[in-house]
């Protein structure tokens, strides 16, 4: 089997769908769109098995040269190693489920084919990203997913707001990409190649630990990652990206694309290991982001925005893990997060459809009995997100991060505290949402029940969100390390400084406690004492704070004032091109000269004679001047 087939199949189906356009029937589109991903998933599984059977020897396929110029050479090389396999499996399987879900969700959409074309294109690009053996191909996938994200956020193009959100997403991630591109130039300059193994191998020869240059490179790569993964300070695009159809939010803006940054850093972990400073910054960014996003999620009214902020927050955890050197923990959290966040989004989508495209949680309520299936899967998703101890995958993955944020070599007690605070917030906002939607009085009538094509993927994901956690259990609970072992050849094991079982217990207990208390608070807030809470919430200071948080800590405004508005203002006032006025001025000057001179052509004979005399005087004056003066 050729690894290259995995991204190729979605690409081909995307092309087919684009070219076919109106000729495909709806069924044809569904089959092509979902089938191709399914096929890719099957191939991925086969290759994964092959791979594990091969003794985990990375499979590299050279699918052709791309460009070669002046010592720079790169090709379409696809690589399957432990890390890629994890990502490819998640992408294809979750992607397939979401496609199936989407075939139901988007059933009434006139641009059905376009939707699937873009979705398939996205999957292809994402697979390219995670399978690329060189950074340029990775960059191709990187930009490709950005494009698809743009296309899909703005899928309903008639509303200018959607277009705005799409452009915002593209441009903001592009800022990060710019940093990444520069990192690429630097890497090529110093290591002479863009092949990932080559870079990783050369880097240790070229740089010593803490070398200034490698720190810069790592930070630039981090910049790229931060943009794609919606971390501070480029997190602002993700909440707006919810303008796209819900399956898009599930696939791109929760499960896969936004974790590309995590993948990138994990992929280039050697570089980050050489630059501890950059790694620390990664951790700090993750920690700060997870808290800020948590607070923002707490006060949202739009169900998808809650999930969006929660995504930002959860990826913050992954960054925290990466920053602490807990590579496999980050990837593990990516896997579980992909499951439960896709689940949550799709369940939310089901609710939204059921309520006739109502997204405001305060207009929902009491859905517990109306949407039984959705209620249960949503509950499982929320539990996993909030990390309810022992039974949810989210608990195991997040708990590992929380523990390692203190104990790992790159850890710090501050990071740990932040992670704990995040756990509390997660519990709170998750269940605030949950209670708002499913409890209380019914405010909007349920429109229709979700069909099977939507529900079956939800059930599967619900199962995965629960059982996926058991492949990696902490020391305290059985010490299963299937997952980290799997990644061992690619990602080094975390070096733990404080190996104390008691401490680990304490940390786990604390985090579990905080998560549960968060849930309790949410319950008290939403279900038990809505009145008292609302009095509290109406206080001016709190009102302001809520607004502030719900606007995402006013980062949008900050960038507006600092960058966007000056740029737009400058370009607007310069619309006529200042430099052009220079030339226009020159033209006007010429005309002025003409007018002045034209006046001398008065037609008066006497004046003409005078000019001759003036000429004579001038000539003689020049003579005298040149000779005697």
């Amino acid at each position: 089997m050729f690894p290259a087939l995995i991204p190729l199949i979605p690409f081909i189906s995307a092309l087919l769908l684009m070219a076919g356009w109106k000729r495909f029937s709806r069924i044809g589109v569904t089959v092509t769109g979902c089938g191709s991903i399914g096929l890719a998933a099957v191939i991925a599984i086969i290759i994964a098995m092959q791979f594990s059977a091969n003794g985990e020897q990375a499979i590299v396929q050279h699918a052709g040269n791309w460009l070669e110029a002046g010592g720079f050479k790169t090709g379409f090389d696809f690589r399957m190693d432990a890390l890629s396999v994890v990502f490819v499996l998640v992408i294809t399987i979750v992607g397939f489920l979401i496609h199936v879900y989407a075939s139901g969700y988007m059933h009434d959409e006139p641009d059905y084919a376009r939707f699937f074309a873009c979705m398939n294109l996205f999957v292809g690009a994402m697979l390219t990203l995670v399978m690329a053996d060189n950074l340029l191909l990775l960059y191709l996938g990187w930009e490709g997913v950005g494009l698809c994200s743009y296309l899909l956020i703005g899928f309903w193009y008639k509303d200018p707001a959607n277009g705005y959100a799409a452009r915002k997403a593209f441009i903001v991630t592009r800022v990060g990409d710019t940093a990444m591109a520069i990192a690429l130039f630097m890497l090529f300059q110093y290591t002479g190649t863009l092949s990932i193994p080559g870079i990783l191998e050369n880097s240790t020869h070229v740089w010593s630990v803490n070398d200034g240059m490698i720190t810069v490179i790592a930070l630039l790569l981090l910049g790229g990652a931060v943009g794609k993964s919606a971390q501070l300070p480029l997190q602002i695009w993700l909440p707006d990206a919810m303008a796209g159809p819900t399956p898009v939010s599930a696939l791109i803006h929760a499960a896969t694309m936004v974790t590309a940054g995590v993948y990138l850093i994990a992929r280039t972990h050697t570089l980050f290991e050489l630059a501890p400073a950059a790694q620390t910054i990664t951790a700090v960014i993750g920690a700060v982001t997870l808290i800020l996003a948590g607070f923002s999620a707490l006060v949202q009214t739009d169900i998808k925005r809650v999930l969006a902020y929660s995504t930002v927050s959860q990826i913050g955890y992954m960054f925290l893990a990466l920053g602490c050197g807990a590579w496999s923990a980050a990837v593990f959290h990516f896997v579980t997060h992909a499951f439960f966040k896709a689940l949550l989004f799709m369940a939310a989508g089901a609710i939204i459809v059921a309520l006739h495209h109502e997204q405001d949680m305060f207009k929902m309520g009491g859905l517990k009995n109306r949407l039984r299936g959705v209620y249960w899967v949503f509950l499982i998703g929320c539990a996993s997100l909030a990390a309810i101890p022992f039974v949810t995958a989210g608990f195991y993955s997040k708990d590992q991060i929380i523990w390692l944020s203190w104990s790992a070599a790159g850890g710090h007690v501050g990071l740990w505290l932040a992670a704990l605070l995040g756990a509390l917030l997660t519990g709170m906002y998750t269940f605030r949402m949950f209670f708002l939607v499913f409890y209380g009085e019914e405010k909007t009538k349920v429109h229709h029940q979700p069909g099977n094509s939507m529900m079956i993927p939800l059930y599967i994901l619900a199962v995965l969100s629960t059982v996926a956690g058991f492949i990696e259990l902490p020391h305290t609970m059985g010490h299963v390390t299937l997952f980290s072992n799997w990644l061992q050849p690619v990602l080094p094991a975390v070096s733990v400084l404080h190996e104390s079982l008691a401490m680990e217990w304490t940390s786990q207990a604390l985090s579990a406690l905080l998560a549960l208390s968060g849930i309790g608070l949410a319950y008290a807030w939403v279900v038990k004492h809505p009145k008292g809470m609302s009095d509290f919430l109406e206080m001016p200071a709190i009102m302001w704070l809520r607004g502030y948080w719900s606007r995402g800590w006013d980062f949008d405004e900050l960038y507006n004032v600092l960058l966007v508005r000056p740029f737009v203002y400058l370009s607007r006032i310069n619309r006529r091109d200042l430099i052009d006025t220079l030339y226009t001025g020159l033209g006007a000057f010429m005309e002025w000269c003409h007018n002045v001179l034209a006046r001398t052509q008065s037609g008066l004979l006497r004046w003409y004679i005078l000019s001759v005399v003036l000429g004579a005087v001038a000539i003689l004056s020049v003579l005298i001047w040149r000779i005697y003066l």
Binding site: W66, E68, E143, L151, Y157, F170, F185, S571, N574, Y583
Partner: protein, 483 residues
Amino acid sequence: MILLVLILVLFGAALLSWVAGVKSHAASRWIALCSLLVNLGIITGIWLEHTHSNSRWWYQFRMDWVPHFGISLHLAMDGLSMLMLALTFFLGALAVLISWKEIQNRVGFFHFNLLFVLCGITGVFLTMDLFLFYFFWEMMLIPMYFLIGIWGHEHREYAANKFFLFTQAGGLLMLLAILGLYFVHKANTNVYTFNYFELLNTPMTPFMERWLMLGFLIAFLVKLPAVPFHTWLPDAHTEAPTAGSVVLAGLLLKTGAYGILRFVLPLFPIAAADIAPVAMLLGVAGILYGGMLAYAQTDLKRLIAYTSVSHMGFVLLGAFAFNEIAYQGVVMQMITHGISTGALFIIAGALYERIHTRNLRQMGGLWLRLPMMGSAAMIFVMASLGLPGLGNFVAEFLVLLGSWQASHVFTILATIGLVVATAYSLRIMQKVFFGPCDRQYAMPDLNGRELVIIIALVIVICWLGFHPQPVLNTSQNIDYVIR
């Protein structure tokens, strides 16, 4: 000899299509199209024949013209010329095709001018005699002037005049420099010649070299166009008919870039190296300033025109980076910019045919009516913002990768230009195809002819994006200047 044929075919066809145009419009169009296809065929044949040739010069042709001054009819072709000619004939043929319906007045004269411009451009890309170069350089202006001035939009005369004056001013400076070089060479060797090969490696004082180089450079900067000589371009592009815009953006600007690669760098290596920081600065300024202006425009064609300023900044940046990667990127950029911007102009022209406005404020939501055109536009908008997988990315990446070796600061600024490119490119899509649509009437999507054009362009841009190696191999055969 085959080189002369390339020029003569166009010249003959120009006259013929004028004459034929009096009787039948269709005949005129077909003659023009066929002549360009014939040339394209010849060029393709040459390319295939020389894919693996390592010789520097593929063809040479030399005949005395004005021996009194050492002027000869000296044509030669190497990889760079070949690539540029391939682009010329390809875009030329498309230009004829897009004018099929758009131009209904004075058809014969239109094709005469179009072919005459292409003839001049072909000459520029082939000639190895500096006088002849200047001759062709100027020769292509007049028909271009007519193309803009007769078949253009509302302010065509203003635009045509501006175009003409700017390029002439630059051209005259170049003439001074050419003659300066001529006499410097004479002083050294006592031989009067305009021959490029003999003038290479002419020893001269640094002072002289700097000024002569500036003469050439300014002419090419005006044509390129680089900030601050760019202001003719938006007007000319905006007012020109679609074919004119395509030829302008796709080909005429390339003559400037070609001139820098062919003449400025090899003839004056030291002075060029000295001026490199300034040139790169201008390139970066073009990238950012052009992008900013593009963002602010409300006229679709004007917007696209400013993107040209921005994109050609990369050419300048790369040309003065003095390394092979950047150089190859520049060649790629010349080709891909021709394709992508040409395509955008074609789309703008097709839109204009349908809705009779270029004002972005009066557009919106057209995807609903014109999904195919929208998809095509999307592809080229993405090309213009440098999406990997399309040709422009390869070009820009190579340029930046190369220029990074030369200057970190400029490269960083130019890379930031990519963000600006995203902003203005997406604005096109947003304003034209997305958003609410208040047009009730139906309008036809791309018809067969337009589809052929667009598909040809899409294929080429994708081919360049995924498999640029043939082009890179070809342009590798050129001597480039490495500091």
